[in-house]
């Protein structure tokens, strides 16, 4: 590729703090890189690890989970559950060979538009430095697969035919 790599980051933002921080970044005209695609959830506690895994398998280069600061969750304490799941997921992803920087847990209050924008930019830079994830490429088999399949059919036709 000739140009710089443009990572795709999927971000799950909670409705009350971090999504509002994104709104604030907008109304304050704080520029950040266009590589992030935001999904609104009511609470960071709604983020199912499956969402994260699915995003990675569908081609995301990084995933951000953002919620209210600890102790400030609009649902009292659900962001702690998001935090626990984040550490659990990171633990598993590490053993699958995924770099830590590709999954980020970010606290952002409704007043922290600047901070959220900076965190997004920082994450984009980190992921850009890591390069494309392209996870599903891990599944591709060696190019000789189809050849091998074809040979079996041929072999059977030649060798397994009992002469009359």
């Amino acid at each position: 590729m000739s140009d710089t790599f443009e990572p795709k980051i999927v971000a799950f933002l909670c409705n009350w703090c971090s999504y509002r921080a994104a709104d604030l970044a907008g109304t304050s005209r704080i520029k950040y890189e266009p590589n992030v695609r935001i999904i609104r959830v009511m609470c960071s506690g709604r983020v199912d690890p499956t969402f994260v895994l699915k995003a990675f398998s569908l081609g995301a280069d990084g995933v951000m989970i953002a919620g209210c600061h600890p102790g400030e969750c609009h649902y009292l304490e659900q962001n702690y559950k998001a935090m626990r799941r984040y550490y659990m997921l990171r633990h598993t992803l590490r053993s699958m060979g995924m770099e830590d920087d590709r999954l980020r847990l970010q606290w952002a209050s409704a007043a922290e538009g600047v901070q959220l924008a900076a965190a997004i930019n920082e994450m984009i830079e980190q992921v850009r430095a890591l390069g494309p994830l392209n996870w599903s490429a891990n599944w591709h088999e060696n190019g000789r697969r189809l050849e091998a399949l074809g040979r079996l059919a041929q072999e059977h036709a030649e060798a397994m035919e009992v002469p009359a």
């Binding site: 520029k31 609470c43 569908l58 081609g59 400030e72 659900q78 924008a117």
Partner: protein
């Protein structure tokens, strides 16, 4: 059946159109996205003409889903939901993409912005197809209100509601209502006598037929939801039968046991083991402090019982419980004073003549332990010089980063009272003088004229280690005078520490009990810091006064009244709408593993023993989705934020990613290679 999706791209004048190729985007959506039957762009989608465009398409084109690419849903989600509803489409079948806040306003490259917009629209289209019809339900509102905390804020709230004819249960932890304000001598900046303006309100509360006053009581448990809360109140045993007590006070007079009064007198004075916090207490009934009473400790005495003319003393009395049904709750639980021993360099608790602000309040109060005389700890000597130290525990990263808001004015008040009562030289050591309110700055000017000395700089330490002439026997205040640019050692007789206002030590437990949240500093969190300062995220639970954040008496009173007004609106309307965005447990998939059971802070999830499954009470559920994400059996679904909806949104957002095209995800055509 394939859905018919309408996509509407808003220019927002040039707000979006200036950075995103809106026409191109609409064309692209119409041509490339599955199930999109109509795709239009329009100058202002939120205008009535814009809305009509959607309504018409729903009717004429038979749209079954609508996507609006415009501003943040926090601005216009309601607008477009309403437009859909007008045209007969369930409002929950509309999805917004935030092209303005998330793209045009934060991007600087039009091509990249347009590419990002395509992804967002694609995500919204895929998501909206999975969305389902939802319907809000209604519940009645109980007209009774629970007010927690009988300080001036709670008193105001209770009176506003009671005067409007609604019944109020006012719960106060201490034996009397009145709160911190009852301890003060004067109030700034007008210097009215605090008791003179507060006690009439207190007796109004005591006598009001619409107020049930529950003092020496605490809320044990709250269940239910907006309009229909159930509260269990623990009335602590007073050891005095309220029905029989006349409040004559003989028992107090005759009680032989004197103890330091840590609460009302701030530790500066004494009270008896049977006591009323202060003479004008409401209610008038005394309580026996069982930890101090000789009878409870040693089994003999009973002086109070002997002398009581109405046989109102009951040593055997037990805590009792009261179950209340209320529609709304107002929390006005106030604050704790900062414990200044936490800053040992200021000598509080070590150096006799260092006083806390509350001690000084009591000292100034004519009904206080010194009869209003300002004296040193020896009880007789009048100080000739007094230093008032601001921001003790406030604006201090080691303790509380916030400004306590009232201390500057209280310090000015102390300066005035000290000068008036003793003629002493009074110094104020401040960081910034904060006097923003009607007539506050004028009060500062007055103190400047009265001769109070102001030193701008934080105090490093208060010590009795003298080393310069004139320091012997004095307290030396070591500070940096940032205006003069030098160090100062100021020898004084007395030091008053303006301690911070802190959240109640049990504020977090209280918050949990009522299902609301606390800020990082521990103050209760309001629904919106500017536009909704007395409501909380929990419908039907309101907050007022200092429990929401430091503020002075006028602001507290205003919030008490505001909370009451909000409650009255709820009562007057009579019903509340219950949001349909809730979690549902599908019994047939639930194995009763009970993982979800303690994940809900609103106790909406219960385990049904008979069926062996868990159940979500929709009225209590706030729709956060945490249990949905947690269920190992995937037996819980979250309305409007279902797995399918979010999976589809992810797929849509990543429509242009390499593997989003299907590589590796789809099975190759069957059959054996030739």
């Amino acid at each position: 059946m394939a859905e018919k999706v309408g996509v509407y791209i808003c220019h927002c004048g040039s707000n979006i159109a200036g950075m995103v190729d809106v026409e191109g985007l609409a064309r692209w959506a119409g041509a490339n996205l599955e199930d999109v039957t109509v795709a239009r762009d329009y100058k202002f989608m939120c205008s009535s003409l814009g809305q009509e465009l959607i309504e018409e398409d729903i009717k004429k084109e038979g749209l079954t889903r609508v996507v609006v690419g415009a501003c943040s849903p926090h601005l216009h989600e309601k607008t477009f939901r309403k437009a859909c509803a007008n045209a007969g489409l369930n409002p929950y079948l509309m999805q917004m993409a935030s092209l303005r806040e998330q793209i045009s306003w934060v991007s600087s490259d039009k091509d990249k912005a347009t590419e990002k917009a395509k992804a967002l629209i694609s995500g919204a289209v895929r998501r909206v197809i999975e969305q389902e019809e939802l319907f809000a339900s209604e519940a009645p509102v109980n007209p009774n209100t629970l007010v927690v905390g009988g300080g001036v804020t709670g008193i105001q709230a209770a009176l506003e509601l009671a005067d409007a004819g609604y019944h109020v249960y006012l719960v106060e932890r201490e034996p009397s209502i009145g709160g911190h304000m009852a301890q003060f001598d004067k109030t700034f900046p007008t210097l009215d006598c605090s008791a003179c303006i507060l006690t009439p309100k207190m007796s109004d509360v005591g006598q009001h037929e619409s107020i049930t006053l529950l003092s020496y009581a605490e809320v044990e448990e709250v269940t239910g939801y907006v309009g229909n809360f159930h509260a269990r109140i623990r009335k602590r045993a007073r050891s005095v039968k309220e029905a029989d007590c006349t409040g004559c006070g003989v028992c107090i007079e005759k009680c032989p046991k004197k103890v330091i009064d840590d609460v009302f007198e701030a530790g500066l004075g004494y009270r008896k083991a049977i006591y009323r916090p202060f003479p004008q207490a409401v209610p008038k009934y005394p309580v026996i402090d069982r930890e101090a009473c000789t009878y409870y400790l040693k089994g003999t005495c009973k002086a109070c019982e002997k002398f009581c003319p109405t046989n109102a003393i009951d040593f055997e009395q037990q805590d009792s419980f009261l179950d209340l049904d209320v529609g709304n709750v107002i929390l006005a639980t106030g604050f704790d004073m900062f414990d200044s021993t936490r800053l040992p360099q200021y000598g509080y608790g070590r150096l006799a003549n260092v006083f806390s602000n509350l001690e000084f309040e009591r000292m100034c109060n004519a009904a206080g332990p010194t009869d209003g005389k300002v004296v040193l700890r020896d009880g007789v000597t009048t100080p000739e010089s007094i230093a008032i130290v601001h921001c003790v525990g406030s604006r201090d990263k080691k303790h509380n980063p916030y400004c306590s808001a009232v201390c500057c004015m209280a310090a000015l008040k102390f300066g005035h009272l000290a000068i008036e009562k003793t003629g002493a030289q009074v110094y104020s050591f401040y960081i910034d003088m904060r006097t923003p309110h009607k007539n506050y700055e004028e009060f500062y000017d007055r103190l400047l004229a009265e001769g109070m000395q102001f030193v701008r700089g934080r105090v490093a330490e208060v010590t009795d280690a003298a080393r310069l002439p004139g320091e012997e026997g004095k307290l030396i205040v070591q500070s940096e005078d940032t205006l003069a640019g030098r160090q100062r050692r100021t020898p004084v007789d007395m030091v008053v520490l303006m301690g911070a206002l802190e959240p109640r030590h049990d504020a977090r437990e209280t918050a949990l009990k009522f299902g609301i949240s606390c800020s990082m500093n521990g103050w209760f969190t309001e629904r919106h810091p500017k536009l909704d300062p007395v409501a909380t995220m929990t419908d039907g639970v309101f907050i007022a006064g200092v429990c929401q954040g430091p503020k002075d008496i006028p602001d507290s009173v205003a919030q008490g009244a505001a909370a009451a007004a909000r409650v009255m609106a709820m009562i007057t309307k009579g019903t509340v709408l219950i949001e349909p965005v809730v979690a549902t447990i599908h019994e047939e998939n639930c194995s009763g593993c009970r993982i979800c059971n303690n994940l809900c802070p609103y106790n909406a999830i219960t385990f049904l023993e008979d069926k062996g499954v868990s159940y979500v009470n929709a009225a209590l559920c706030k729709g956060c989705g945490t249990c949905v994400a947690a269920c190992p059996a995937q037996a819980i679904s979250g309305a409007h934020f279902s797995n399918e909806q979010i999976f589809s949104e992810i797929e849509g957002l990543l429509y242009d990613a390499i593997s989003g095209n299907g590589a590796g995800h789809k099975v190759e055509p069957a059959g054996v290679p030739a």
